[in-house]
């Protein structure tokens, strides 16, 4: 190394290094702070909700129906309604969405029609939920005569979550390496066999994760269900598809809007129940995903 190739000014170089390292540290701190915003907000919310609602939370709260008297009011109808709605929505939306995603990824010709469908699905995922409520009211409640029932609500929410599940499923299907498809085709597999035996099992963890995220959104929906006639006050649980129903967010809203403090505490307890339901769903998703991953 000759003298002219060496850094001319060692001091300048050191300063440059120090500045560079400082910039790195600052960036890390800023990103860390940004992460904390979400976590702290959630923690504060949870602490507040638990402080208000925890003492209301008991077996009686879970097993009682709504009441004018706060001490007798419970969440049974709303919890049952939410479970009905989300289960039915999953049963309807999951197979339809997965089938649609498989068609779009594995079968559909690369034509303008396919592209148009694809664009539409992406747009539908961004349509406000109240619009789905109006659609549900017009289509299921009125045109199909399903009335203000559990099935109307579930069908409406199915339409709402389908675009999200389809896109998540497509993403998962695309992530399956083409080498796996080729290997299966190379052994004389038909397209259906390739999809059923290789592609779908490999994509399933991703599809399930997307589905549960979409359903979590559905559990928290209120607006479209009000449109299709979920009621705020109900003294029975749905026994069939055509029964009236209420759901947790609606019950919570109903309590929050009352003047008495006791009802606010009930609302907080309702929120705890809703969050528990959500966390349970996420846990189920993780268990399903791990089971699929370990099997493959």
């Amino acid at each position: 190394m000759t003298r002219s190739e060496r850094p001319v000014d060692d001091a300048a170089r050191t300063a440059f290094h120090r500045r560079r390292r400082l910039a790195g540290s600052v960036f890390a701190v800023v990103c860390g702070a940004a992460t904390l915003v979400g976590v702290v907000a959630l923690a504060v919310l949870l602490a507040d909700v638990f402080a208000d609602g925890f003492r209301e939370l008991d077996v009686a709260f879970l097993t009682s129906f709504a009441s004018r008297f706060p001490e007798r009011a419970g969440i049974k109808a709303a919890l049952a309604g939410s479970i009905w709605i989300v289960s039915l929505t999953a049963l309807i939306a999951f197979p339809l969405s997965v089938a649609a995603a498989i068609y779009l990824e594995e079968y559909a010709p690369r034509s303008w029609v396919t592209r148009a469908i694809q664009t539409n699905i992406a747009n539908l995922a961004g349509v406000p939920s109240i619009v789905y409520g109006i659609l549900g009211l017009a289509l299921f409640v009125r045109a199909l005569g399903l009335d203000r029932s559990v099935i109307s609500g579930a069908l409406t929410l199915s339409l709402l979550v389908m675009p999200v599940i389809i896109m998540a499923a497509q993403e998962a299907l695309r992530a399956v390496p083409s080498t796996i498809r080729e290997a299966a085709y190379g052994l004389g597999a038909t397209r259906w066999q390739v999809v059923r035996t290789q592609v779908l099992p490999m994509a399933m963890p991703g599809i399930l994760t997307g589905t549960i995220l979409a359903l979590s959104r559905a559990v928290g929906e209120t607006a479209p269900l009000i449109m299709v006639g979920a009621v705020g006050f109900l003294a029975f649980t749905p026994q069939g598809l055509s029964d009236s129903f209420t759901v947790l967010p609606l019950q919570i809203y109903n309590w929050v809007s009352r003047p008495q403090d006791e009802f606010r505490a009930l609302a907080a307890a309702g929120i705890i129940v809703l969050l528990t339901l959500l966390l349970t769903m996420n846990a189920v998703a993780i268990i399903l995903r791990n089971r699929y991953s370990s099997r493959s």
């Binding site: 290997a183 190379g186 052994l187």
Partner: protein, 260 residues
């Protein structure tokens, strides 16, 4: 027009007869009017610089190009007197009888056993699956290494073992021809040597067409060599002749390492 090279074909006739085959990707002509005969029970090597169309040509032999939407094939590939590209031919059946081993080992994310059993299962195999799996793994010289852990994930194997597993998987559906697309290019020299020894054993029973970048490999394992350049078949003949006494100047330039 392409030149057709005569190959000494045994009494059994050619395994594949390629006639005036061209492949287009959109507007690009990847393979240009290639004609050649692949003899039964032997190894044919396809060599040539990157992008010369050798892999594309190989993938025509079991209609894997059908899976690429933009690809279009002209000409004929005759297999047992039938053109593989005839409208009456089912590409799924073609791929069952003409198997393929790929460049990168691509085992399924399943157990070793299930990898080998996959092909027979989807083809409705009725019989002793355990015996077939063992036979296939023995043919691929992998049995001794995995016989006590058939239930383990195929991903637990080394790269070379995975590639032999892929060969076993291909053999399990009893193909007549095995196509290999640079089967050793992702492997280390020792694993490569094992694959080459395996090919040497397999050619007693199977017709093998292999694409390779490695000219020494082509010289070591093949009976016939085809040199492709820019989509055209430049020269095709016995491997000895191609490497020691090529008729074409470009072949000589390539096999002696002057380009490519």
């Amino acid at each position: 027009m392409s030149t057709t090279y005569d190959i000494a074909i045994g009494s059994e006739g050619p395994a594949l007869e390629v006639r005036d085959l061209s492949v287009f990707y959109g507007e690009t002509k990847a393979v240009d009017s290639v004609s050649l005969s692949v003899p039964e029970r032997g190894v044919v090597a396809l060599i040539g610089p990157s992008g010369c169309g050798k892999t594309t040509l190989l993938r025509c032999f079991n209609r894997m190009n059908d899976l690429i939407k933009a690809a279009r094939v002209d000409g004929a590939v005759e297999f047992g007197g039938v053109d593989l590209y005839d409208a009456s031919v089912d590409p799924v059946e073609v791929r069952r009888r003409i198997g393929m081993v790929f460049q990168k080992p691509n085992p399924f994310p399943k157990s070793i056993y299930d990898n080998v059993a996959f092909g027979p299962r989807i083809n409705g195999f009725q019989g002793d699956l355990d015996a077939l799996v063992e036979e296939s793994l023995r043919q691929a010289a992998l049995w001794d290494e995995v016989s006590d852990r058939l239930g383990d994930s195929a991903y637990a194997l080394s790269g070379g073992q995975q590639q032999r597993l892929c060969i076993a998987r291909t053999l399990a559906v009893k193909p007549q021809i095995v196509l290999m697309d640079e089967p050793a290019s992702a492997l280390d020299p020792i694993a490569t040597q094992r694959i080459e020894e395996l090919i040497y054993e397999l050619k007693k029973q199977y017709t093998i067409v292999i694409v390779t970048h490695n000219m020494q490999q082509a010289a070591r394992i093949s009976d016939y060599t085809a040199f492709l350049y820019m989509g055209k078949l430049i020269e095709y003949g016995p491997t000895d002749a191609i490497f020691t006494n090529p008729r074409e100047e470009r072949t000589e330039a390539y096999v002696t390492g002057r380009f490519g």
